[in-house]
């Protein structure tokens, strides 16, 4: 699987070495082709194309990477969100030079994300988290608007704090375990008696992951970054970056490295619950389309964390599945937001209205996304939320299960509010001349809707795979 890390890097090198007018104009084709290749390799791993291609470069550059079920789900999410980001960015960024830089940075971010989920060492994990963070910072400030620079700066400061905590944690782990490899750290922590330094290291790393993921109380940077970044960048940030750098990191280090100690489980449950409630209630008060989606993201990531906090294989299955569903549906909502902003010139929901008739495909796909996130059957999001609630109930966290259900109702509430303000009711005077977007923005939205519907309808056939993945990881930890 080394090619998943090397190919985007080599693609960027080739694009920049050639760098003619034609290359800059059609660079997006190379990016889209790469995203599709990544998806094909992961969805059909036993095909000749995958077997030959996915490790072709690994013969010359052996990188000591590994994948398991958890990594594969994330890699597929990176492929899908990367594809949608490239298409959306190509449509919404008008300046050719900016668009070329955007495509390069998205490819490098995909390389960073792929590396992040395939490494098996704490220090390597830190290196690739930093790659993604710096790339995100540059992407947010791509258009150099004042709000974007402010959002990027806030993100940079908090990200740097998280990086410092991670490095301190890695130093402490090295002191206690003598290595930073996942397997060695896991075996030392489980065979030796608990030390205060190891406990501090775990708390620091988990805290750093929460900052990267924008969970409460470290969420301050997230709404500004999501709302002020260029439209395509918001799709990437909300769809996969914060999920991988924050939530996946927490899942990986808890499940594969540190283990589910009572302290870790309690922290996850409390932070998850506070994020769910805070995000949902804050989203109710927003007037900006993207800021509402940003607070909604905080709430939904809380669901993933609370599922992880159960410490059970079912909880982890729910967390993993919800992570994937949220990547798909939240990306789609940000694509819809980009479409509305492009066609109307504004994101202020108070000055929009009645767009459902003018933009029927955008309206329809946004309904699919919001119903999936709110947990309405038979869409994919319903199943992941159901699994999370069952996992909470079965692990005797009844209060948390009730809160999760109530917050789902609040989620449905603010999303229906969003729909009513933007797509229903009387057509706002400034929206009279608005038309539906072109195929460039509709195709990604339709693709993501198809995934949400298809996975929801076909879930009873796929459920065993999602449950088996965490079981194998949990068994490894238990040993």
């Amino acid at each position: 699987m080394s090619s998943l890390l090397l190919m985007p890097f080599f693609l960027v090198a080739i694009l920049n070495l050639l760098n003619t007018g034609a290359v800059r104009r059609y660079a997006v084709v190379a990016g889209i082709a790469w995203s599709l290749v990544q998806l094909l390799w992961l969805l059909f791993p036993q095909s000749q194309f995958s077997l030959v291609g996915s490790d072709f470069l690994g013969r010359y550059f052996p990188l000591h990477l590994a994948t398991d079920g958890l990594s594969v789900v994330l890699l597929i999410s990176v492929g899908i969100v990367g594809l949608v980001t490239l298409i959306t960015g190509h449509q919404t960024i008008t300046d050719e030079k900016e668009r070329f830089i955007f495509i390069n940075l998205v490819l490098l971010t995909m390389a960073g994300l792929n590396g992040l989920v395939m490494v098996r060492d704490l220090f390597s994990l830190y290196v690739y988290i930093e790659v993604v963070a710096v790339a995100s910072f540059v992407l947010i400030s791509l258009e150099r608007e004042k709000d974007a620079l402010e959002g990027a700066f806030k993100y940079l400061v908090l990200s740097a704090s998280a990086s410092m905590l991670m490095l301190l944690s890695i130093a402490a782990i090295l002191l206690v375990c003598g290595s930073t490899s996942f397997d060695t750290v896991n075996s030392v922590l489980h065979t030796a008696p608990a030390s205060p330094i190891a406990t501090l290291a775990i708390a620091l790393f988990v805290g750093a992951a929460f900052i990267k993921g924008g969970l409460v109380p470290f969420h301050g940077w997230l709404p500004d970054a999501y709302s002020s970044a260029p439209a395509g960048v918001s799709v990437l940030l909300a769809g996969i970056v914060t999920k991988t750098a924050g939530v996946y990191t927490a899942m990986r280090i808890v499940a594969s490295v540190f283990g589910f100690t009572p302290m870790v489980k309690n922290i996850l449950l409390v932070v998850g619950t506070v994020s769910i409630l805070f995000g949902a209630l804050a989203a109710l008060n927003q007037k900006d389309f993207r800021r509402m989606l940003a607070y909604s993201s905080i709430s939904q990531m809380g669901y993933i964390i609370i599922a992880l906090g159960t410490g059970t294989a079912l909880g982890m299955a729910g967390a993993l599945f919800h992570l994937f569903n949220h990547a798909v549906s939240k990306s789609q909502l940000f694509v819809n937001a980009a479409t509305v902003e492009r066609q109307t010139g504004t994101r202020d929901m108070t000055s929009l209205g009645g767009l459902g008739g003018k933009m029927p495909v955008t309206a329809g796909t946004s309904v699919v996304a919001l119903l999936s996130i709110a947990g309405i059957p038979p869409l994919a999001g319903f199943w992941s939320k159901l699994i999370i609630i069952i996992a909470l109930w079965q692990s005797n966290h009844h209060n948390y299960a009730v809160i999760a259900v109530v917050a789902s109702a609040i989620t449905l509430g603010y999303f229906l509010l969003l729909q009513r303000r933007i797509f229903f009711g009387k057509v706002a005077p400034q929206c009279d001349a608005v038309k539906e977007a072109g195929a460039g923005l509709l195709v990604p939205a339709l693709l993501l809707s198809a995934i949400a519907i298809g996975l929801g309808v076909a879930f009873p056939f796929a459920v065993s795979w999602f449950v088996k993945v965490p079981q194998s990881i949990m068994n490894m930890v238990a040993q």
Binding site: F9, V12, L63, H64, E98, N104, S124
Partner: protein
């Protein structure tokens, strides 16, 4: 004698790091950072890690300081009056920092119960070339990708025409 020398080194390291943060003028911050890196290199030598010490000295104390001072020389200089005017507010922001550093240092000393800098033994591979070029190839690639991202960052932030 060893433990007192180590203690002095760590105190000087902490002091110069604090100076780098609390200095009112950027040039003094850069010098403080260079001094802290140099002392850290000496600490690494005493911990039997000469290669890490050489890299710390040449890259952090040398190259990075040179870059900082080059950039500082390009920015508009403040007059003495402007520096004095903001000195009070600047120092008030960081007045708690020395106390926090002292508390952290005392806590670490009590928790680790060390009397001298440890002399770590390598548990596995000791050949730095093998570690660098073979065992940590993924990290090396990550750092190359980071350099590329940084290059794009410079183009975005400094080269492309401003919109506002």
């Amino acid at each position: 004698m060893h433990w007192s020398l180590d203690l002095v080194l760590l105190l000087v390291l902490a002091g110069s790091a604090l100076w780098a943060v609390m200095a009112t003028r950027l040039i003094f911050s850069a010098i403080g950072l260079a001094f802290a890196s140099a002392v850290l290199a000496v600490v690494m030598f005493r911990m039997a890690s000469p290669l890490a010490a050489v890299i710390e000295l040449s890259v952090c104390a040398g190259l990075i300081t040179a870059i900082f001072i080059s950039v500082i020389s390009l920015v508009k200089h403040e007059t003495r009056g402007e520096v004095e005017a903001r000195r009070g507010a600047h120092l008030r922001k960081y007045v708690v920092l020395p106390f926090l550093a002292a508390i952290l240092g005392i806590t670490l000393a009590l928790v680790t119960k060390r009397q001298a800098l440890p002399q770590p033994q390598a548990l596995g591979e000791t050949d730095v070339r093998n570690v660098f070029w073979h065992l940590r190839q993924a990290d090396l690639l990550g750092q190359i990708i980071m350099l590329l991202v940084g290059a794009f960052g410079i183009v975005v932030l400094f080269k492309l025409r401003r919109k506002t």
